[in-house]
């Protein structure tokens, strides 16, 4: 599904390398987790994959189902099936959450040559999905993320994901800021989307989320590349011992 090969990325404005030979493969239907110290480049990777400006790819490739992601506009990547749940969802005053979502869904459908959803159908579907994430009608009417609590913003990200039904979902610290119950809601939301074909890349600092969303593979990222990959046990090891041992082992 997702194939990243020896990716090198620098900041456009400064001469600063952030991703330094990142390689990662997420096969269809699998859930992979990425853990790693603050500043190791996890969010940068997710931004570069989704096409945010300000970064320069100086080497390597990234493909989704064999299609080169790096040449596409962000909206084309989304229509191709990529989704990023932001670590820091953006507030957009003046744009209603509902208008935003309906526009997004229909723009993607149009880009894929599918028929647009009618207002009535859209409403029916979103009500259902919002309910399971405990997002009330009032929140749907409000401007995108404006005045939402941290946890509400994260739930809103998952609602968008559920509505857009992407092939490849990247979740950047979706668990941070969630209370215990919300974590369960969000995880249930993610698990409901697991259908054996859809893939997930879950960025997190905590083993807790991975109790709910069981990963097939756990990667450790440090200084802009994957330094170690393993099974779910790797997350437990990080939880208990931190990164020092792993980083020392890699350096040796």
């Amino acid at each position: 599904m997702l194939n990243i090969n020896n990716l090198h990325v620098e900041l456009e404005d400064e001469d600063k390398a952030i991703l330094k030979g990142l390689s990662l493969t997420v096969p269809a239907g699998e859930v992979h987790a990425i853990m790693g110290p603050n500043g190791s480049g996890k969010s940068t990777m997710s931004y570069v994959l989704s096409g945010k400006g300000g970064y320069e790819v100086t080497g390597g490739t990234a493909t989704l189902d064999g299609v080169n992601l790096l040449d596409m506009e962000p909206d084309e990547r989304a229509a191709a099936g990529l989704f990023l749940a932001f670590q820091y969802p953006v507030e957009i005053p003046g744009v209603g959450n509902m208008t935003f979502l309906r526009t997004a869904v229909n723009c993607q459908r149009k880009a894929r040559g599918e028929e647009e959803l009618s207002a009535a159908d859209f409403l029916k579907i979103i009500r259902e999905k919002a309910k399971s994430l405990k997002i009330d009608a009032e929140m749907l009417k409000r401007p995108v993320n404006v005045g939402f609590s941290g946890g509400e913003k994260k739930r809103n990200e998952i609602l968008q994901m559920a509505m857009l039904e992407p092939k490849m979902c990247i979740l950047d610290e979706t668990d941070s800021g969630l209370d215990v119950d919300a974590m369960k809601l969000v995880s249930d939301g993610v698990n409901a989307l697991r259908d054996g074909k859809r893939s997930f890349l879950v960025i997190t600092h905590y083993q807790r989320l991975l109790d709910h969303i069981k990963p097939d593979v756990v990667h450790i990222m440090a200084d802009g590349r994957i330094v170690k990959s393993g099974g779910p046990d790797l997350a437990l090891e990080v939880e208990h011992n931190g990164y020092a041992d792993i980083l020392a082992e890699v350096a040796a």
Binding site: S50, G51, K52, G53, E73, P74, D75, R77, A78, A79, F83, L84, F86, P89, V90, I92, P93, G94, V95, T99, F100, L101, T103, A104, V105, C107, Q108, A111, P143, V144, Q160, L164
Partner: protein, 431 residues
């Protein structure tokens, strides 16, 4: 001295071009007095501080520059509302296209009829509020209007008007130079909504003097047409009594030159004045220069005023905002708010703002803010990452930017209508 002479000469030339209205009784005196004011001030010049951001040349010229007539095939704004419709063509009332000038609690006459009466209440307002509005800054083009206007309406509201009055300003002649002057008196406890739409003329000079007695309510929404080359200079002079309310919203899209001036005096305690505007201009479809110049004077206790202006500018379009809140001595508990914002969609466009506060009382809460900026890249990326193409994302963000100004319109029906028209404009001028 030479400069002053040149300005007076220009005024002379402008006045000589037109015939002074005839047939007026009391009005003739007011017109002659206005001429004297005009001669004293001369026409505005480029060096005048008040005209620093807007060149008055096309308003001063003896002849109106031609403007192509735009056929849109669109339904007129306010067309679906239950309203009393009065149509002006090139600034002249067209009775055939208009409804009968009668409505419960409202007296409507033409300016010419009112002017021909021996005695008329309008005498206490016509040219009077305009004169009061000549300080602290001279507004010679308003005096010119008072001197020359033959057309306009004289409206007296004595109770709650059952329907809005809708003045439609249509165009027929490419070069029409229209001078329109309305007088509106809202009696104590009375209520009127005035809706205006359409470009009016190749060059439109419009003055409205609005006198609101204690507890009166005057709501006003206007759209200034879509003709690209038309020019318009409007003044609204309003005097507010105790516990009265004045609200005015203006939508300006297109137009080579627009200058909308307000002079509002809060005379009675607990009065409220809100003015707002949304404006979109695209230099690619013709020159665009739009100027909102607002002066609000607080001269009573516990009054509230609000100014909310938003302008979206692209391809060399220019937006101007000059807004002043004056708090007179003794106008305690004043609540004054002012915000003006420009959204520039490229580097060629500009937003020029001059927000001012002048306060002579100590127990007041006044705030003003002015910003100019581009589309927020973070919001843009967020929308695009959800599959919304760049042009559509920009449309959404432009409309979001304008939303705060539209919120100032009380009527949801009218607000939605105006929002739809703005959305259509934004879509036409997208990409």
């Amino acid at each position: 001295m030479k400069l002053a002479q040149a300005k007076t000469d220009a005024a002379e030339a402008r006045v000589n071009r037109s015939d002074l209205p005839t047939g007026g009784k009391w009005a003739n005196e007011a017109r002659l007095a206005a001429l004297t004011r005009l001669h004293g001030a001369g026409l505005p010049g480029r060096r005048d501080e008040y005209w620093r951001f807007t060149r008055p040349d096309d308003l001063n010229r003896a002849d109106a520059p031609a403007a192509d007539l735009l056929k849109t095939g669109e339904s007129p704004v306010f067309g679906d509302l239950d309203r009393l419709k009065l149509v002006f063509v090139d600034g002249v009332l067209d009775r055939d296209q208009s409804d009968a000038m009668a409505m419960q609690h409202v007296e409507i006459e033409t300016l010419a009829d009112a002017a021909a009466a021996d005695i008329h209440w309008a005498r206490d307002i016509y040219g009077v509020l305009e004169t009061a509005g000549q300080a602290p800054v001279e507004r010679p083009l308003a005096a010119l209007n008072t001197a020359l206007a033959e057309n306009g309406l004289v409206i007296r509201v004595t109770g709650k008007a059952p329907r809005p009055i809708n003045l439609q300003y249509l165009r027929r002649d490419q070069c029409a130079d229209a001078v329109v002057h309305h007088v509106i008196k809202v009696e104590s406890g009375a209520e009127l909504t005035l809706l205006e739409n359409g470009p009016g003329a190749a060059r439109l000079s419009k003055v409205a003097e609005v006198d609101i007695a204690d507890g009166g309510i005057f709501h006003h929404v206007r759209t200034q047409g879509r003709d690209h080359q038309r020019r318009a200079h409007t003044h609204i002079f309003a005097r507010l009594g105790k516990e009265s309310e004045f609200k005015s919203f203006t939508l300006t899209v297109n137009g080579a030159l627009t200058r909308n001036e307000y002079v509002i005096t809060l005379h009675g305690d607990d009065a409220r004045a809100h003015v707002a505007g949304a404006c979109t201009g695209d230099g690619a479809t013709g020159a665009f220069h739009q100027d909102d110049t607002v002066f609000i004077a607080h001269d009573a206790v516990n009054c509230e005023s609000r100014q909310v202006y938003k302008k979206v500018l692209r391809n060399g379009a220019t937006g101007v905002f000059q807004g002043k809140i004056l708090v007179q001595p003794g106008a305690q508990k004043t609540d004054g708010y002012q915000i003006s914002q420009g959204l520039l969609l490229d580097d060629d466009s500009q937003f020029l703002a001059k927000p001012e506060l002048e306060i002579y009382a100590d127990d007041v809460a006044c705030s003003h803010g002015s910003t100019v900026g581009a589309i927020d890249e973070g919001a843009m990326f967020y929308l695009m990452s959800r599959g919304v193409p760049k042009s559509r994302a920009q449309e959404l963000l432009v409309l979001a930017f304008l939303a705060e100004a539209l919120e100032e319109i009380d009527s949801e029906t009218i607000r939605d209508d105006i929002r739809d028209r703005l959305a259509a404009w934004v879509e036409r001028h997208s990409g």
